[in-house]
């Protein structure tokens, strides 16, 4: 029983080692699926190119260009697609393809799987947001913040927002029982949400009741938070509440994060469909 002896002596790799190894693997797989890169990663850039070209002027009664507005809001949308959409669909597909079942048969702590998913999303999110800001600053008149306060706002909204989206993705991906229908279930509500959260239509042009519905969901707060980092300070008077509402943004995003965490812990099905 040489193998048994060796394994008692050998040390099992730590959860963090395995989590980091899984981040690397998830990113490698991600890079190799061109449709994911084009439709997931490049989605906000494509939308920015379209909206930025269709609306070259300024938003009425302001000095803010539509291009600046869309650049900020679409950066937030990108975080939602990278964080929420790709995690939820990815987990549903992992379950469909028996990948989750295989992992359960391996000496892997479950947390390493989530570290892999969320870590790879963080890397994608940083890359996508940096690219968005660079392209928007070069071609669409976006002003990159010059003072630490605005950078601070950008960083906390980005980190909290992306974490909320990713954990929400884990919660929804854990409930979905079918990878093939996952795209429809996840993508369609997200498109509706983009209409009522001030992504496609500026908040100044949306009816009050739609804004109120949008305010229940995290995307509206994510957009508003990112706008507060990039748009001139006077723009806040045109926001639904007449201010940037940073405390409220923090509360709503944190509430969704905690709710999604609780839901993930309760509903995540490691066994998949094999419990008859």
């Amino acid at each position: 029983m040489s193998s048994g002896t060796a394994q008692r002596q050998g040390k099992l790799p730590s959860m963090l080692d395995l989590g980091i190894s899984r981040i690397g693997m998830e990113l490698t797989i991600y890079r190799r699926v061109p449709e994911q890169v084009v439709f997931g990663f490049a989605y906000p850039l494509i939308m920015l190119a379209i909206f930025g070209s269709v609306f070259p002027g300024t938003i009425p009664h302001t000095d803010v260009r539509y291009q600046q507005y869309y650049a900020a809001s679409l950066t937030a949308t990108g975080m939602m697609t990278v964080g929420f959409q790709s995690v939820a669909i990815g987990i549903a597909l992992d379950r469909d393809n028996n990948i989750i079942k295989r992992l359960r048969g391996m000496p892997m702590p479950p947390m390493a799987y989530f570290v892999g998913k969320i870590g790879s999303v963080l890397v994608q999110g940083v890359a996508q947001t940096a690219l968005m800001i660079a392209v928007a600053a070069l071609f669409f008149h976006l002003h990159v913040p010059s003072d630490p306060w605005h950078w601070f706002t950008l960083v906390w909204v980005f980190l909290l927002g992306l974490a909320t989206c990713a954990v929400l993705g884990v919660a929804v991906g854990g409930v979905l029982r079918n990878g093939r229908s996952a795209s429809a279930v996840v993508v369609t509500p997200l498109i509706v949400l983009q209409f009522i959260s001030g992504v496609f239509f500026p908040v100044t042009q949306l009816p009050r009741f739609l804004l109120d519905i949008g305010a229940v969901f995290p995307l509206k707060w994510l957009c508003q938070g990112i706008r507060s980092a990039f748009l001139p300070d006077d723009f806040k008077t045109l926001e639904p509440a007449g201010s940037w509402e940073h405390p409220m943004t923090l509360i709503v995003l944190a509430a969704w994060l905690i709710g999604a965490l609780a839901l993930s812990v309760r509903t995540f099905g490691w066994r998949g469909q094999d419990e008859h």
């Binding site: 029983m1 060796a6 394994q7 040390k11 790799p13 359960r104």
Partner: protein, 314 residues
């Protein structure tokens, strides 16, 4: 993961040399204890009883086959032993632990080839094995595993470009990368062509020679006969027969069918407990050579069909 490769030499001793080098108390205790011990296992799904008081003992180092019709409870039993499903009742020890509560260290000692795997990865054979090797404290070297499963020419190919048979060999590769003491194979060769099946059997023989305990579930009786030291036939969630492939269900004592072609009467067959006597008589009758002589002991299939006949309605 490369950092972990330096530990792999720990377990390279063959089982035989390990015994010569000196066996620890724990090792001798383990050798005495069966790899799998199951008493009175039961599992129900709503109103269907999948496993109904099943007993099983698999000795360390042995290759043990579970045979039985679809729905007999083979996969449910296997998945309970692998720790995928909880049992409703029964006493279960796998490598000395209860799979339902076993930890990562226990998981590192078993290898699983699932009945159905659909992993589709945009990773190469080499990359995927290197990744999963990093999960284990003392993995087999990746090159050795690739060689063992015969995927040398495909090591740089992505999983999405492998044939069905190659994918199945990759399943085995992933199951043995951690150098398991106990390997579960659930219908490993379903859908293989005859030559792929033979290559696969050769691989299992090599793992067996290296001291791996194997629990094999299969529909193919020839496979059980070629690979298994002992066979259990499962029907309606219970073991209905247990033995070596040669003696299962009284096969060694069963009647033998002797057939020949009579010049006048045509095809003749007779079943007898004394085939040698009959052949000698026939030789005398035909004056030496018996025309078209065939002596057929019951096949494992005959015995199996006999044993599982009552289970057909299930």
């Amino acid at each position: 993961m490369p950092a972990r490769q330096d530990r792999v030499n720990h377990g390279r001793l063959s089982p035989r040399s390990a015994k010569l080098v000196g066996v620890t108390d724990i090792d001798s205790a383990r050798a005495a204890e069966p790899a799998i011990l199951v008493r009175g296992l039961a599992k129900r799904y709503q109103d269907v009883t999948a496993v109904d008081g099943l007993d099983l003992e698999v000795r360390t180092g042995e290759t043990f086959a579970l045979l039985g019709p679809n729905g007999a409870g083979k996969t449910t039993t296997t998945e309970i032993l692998e720790g995928y499903r909880p049992a409703d009742a029964g006493e279960i020890r796998v490598l000395g632990e209860d799979p339902a509560t076993a930890d990562r260290r226990w998981r590192a000692r078993i290898g699983i080839v699932m009945q159905e795997s659909r992993d589709i990865y945009e990773l190469t054979v080499d990359e995927l094995l290197r990744h999963f090797a990093g999960y284990f404290p003392a993995p087999r070297p990746v090159d050795e595993v690739i060689e063992l499963v015969g995927l040398g020419e495909k090591r740089g190919s992505r999983m999405t470009r492998l044939s069905g048979g190659q994918r199945r060999r990759m399943d085995v590769a992933l199951a043995i990368i951690g150098r398991p003491e106990l390997l579960f194979l659930d219908e490993p060769t379903t859908g293989f062509d005859p030559s792929a099946r033979r290559q696969f059997w050769e691989l299992i023989h090599q793992l067996k020679a290296a001291g791996t305990t194997i629990l094999l579930t299969t529909h193919y009786l020839e496979e059980a006969e070629r690979l298994a030291d002992r066979v259990a036939v499962v029907a309606k969630g219970r073991v209905v027969a247990l033995g070596t492939p040669a003696e299962l269900g009284g096969r060694d004592r069963a009647l033998v069918r002797v057939g020949w072609t009579d010049p006048d009467e045509g095809e003749r067959t007779e079943t007898t407990a004394a085939p040698t006597k009959l052949v000698v008589e026939l030789a005398a009758r035909y004056g030496g050579e018996v025309p078209g002589l065939r002596v057929q002991p019951p096949t494992l299939e005959d015995i199996y069909l006999e044993l599982t006949r009552e289970g057909d309605g299930a």
